[in-house]
Symmetry: C2
Subunit: 156 residues, 2 copies
DNA sequence: TTCCGTGCAAACAATTTGCAATAGA
DNA sequence: TCTATTGCAAATTGTTTGCACGGAA
């Protein structure tokens, strides 16, 4: 029953004093429909299926609003546009440079790293707002470039 | 004797069949003068001190060239423009969201993380091309937000 | 009715590109 | 000379903003 999340978000908007519009509902819906992380452009495509009129600026303004409410998040992915998603649990993003796949990693799985960096450098990394880029198993293991994934690699 | 690096880079350009121009020398010099990581805009400021005529496009083209030669690198830092630097050893960048400080971390110090992610997700992170954002010791330890840096924190 | 949300088009920042003039080898 | 490099200005991409109109409350 994923529509729960739509209502949750709508409720949050209402609670904050915001107005509930067709556009906003459609945008939240698009965000919920795919657990995916998507660019504003991709969101627009999804929204336009049922609501062709919605302007890009409106989508930007809506995801920004969701972020202010603490229920929307965006991740930076190097070169390209930001990816947006709704989520209850903080997580880190691994983005494959080859195929674009996004892998979510639970936040606490990176605790050892976080602790290590904190001790050695005093630096406290922000684990959810920025992505780590690299190669997913498929792209790394089957890369024609020759170099295998390293020890433990070659999953095929 | 940091000028060594300038000659090294110049030599690499020459070896690749590129021509040595005043502009390129000035840009490499600006890159070497500060071990720092700097944006194209900042590089331009440095270059313009002695060579006011150099065009931004030229700087973009030159750092791109250096990257192609494997002696220049750029790091993505979320919102802002890319940071460029010359370096012999691969390293990871920690960029402070508050003060902008860049901390270099030797690549192998992240090996445990890399291995862990590789095993648990099959994902092989690219450790030098993208930065990790967070808070440096100063900004985290003295943050008025209340939450201290955690165990081992409070370096003062 | 009273503002908030929206469309539109222009502004923006970072970066890239086409083309003619210029300067390195 | 001959072609790579540069300057310039315009194009691109992702995103933000000002303003007047229309719709939520």
């Amino acid at each position: 029953m994923p529509d729960d999340r739509v209502e949750q978000a709508i409720e949050a908007i209402r609670a904050s004093g915001g107005r509930i519009t067709v556009d906003r509902r459609a945008i939240v819906q698009a965000l919920v429909d795919h657990g995916d992380h998507r660019t504003v452009e991709e969101l627009a495509q999804a929204v336009w299926v049922d609501h062709p009129g919605v302007n890009l600026a409106t989508i930007y303004r809506t995801v920004e609003l969701l972020e202010q409410l603490g229920i929307g998040f965006h991740v930076h992915v190097g070169h390209g546009p930001s990816l947006w998603h709704l989520s209850e649990h903080i997580h880190q993003h691994l983005v494959c440079d080859s195929c674009g796949t996004v892998i979510d990693v639970p936040d606490d799985s990176l605790d050892p790293l976080r602790r290590q960096l904190l001790e050695s450098t005093g630096f406290e990394i922000d684990l959810h707002h920025f992505s780590m880029v690299g190669r997913c198993a498929d792209c790394a293991g089957r890369s024609p470039d020759g170099e295998p994934a390293g020890p433990g690699g070659d999953p095929a």
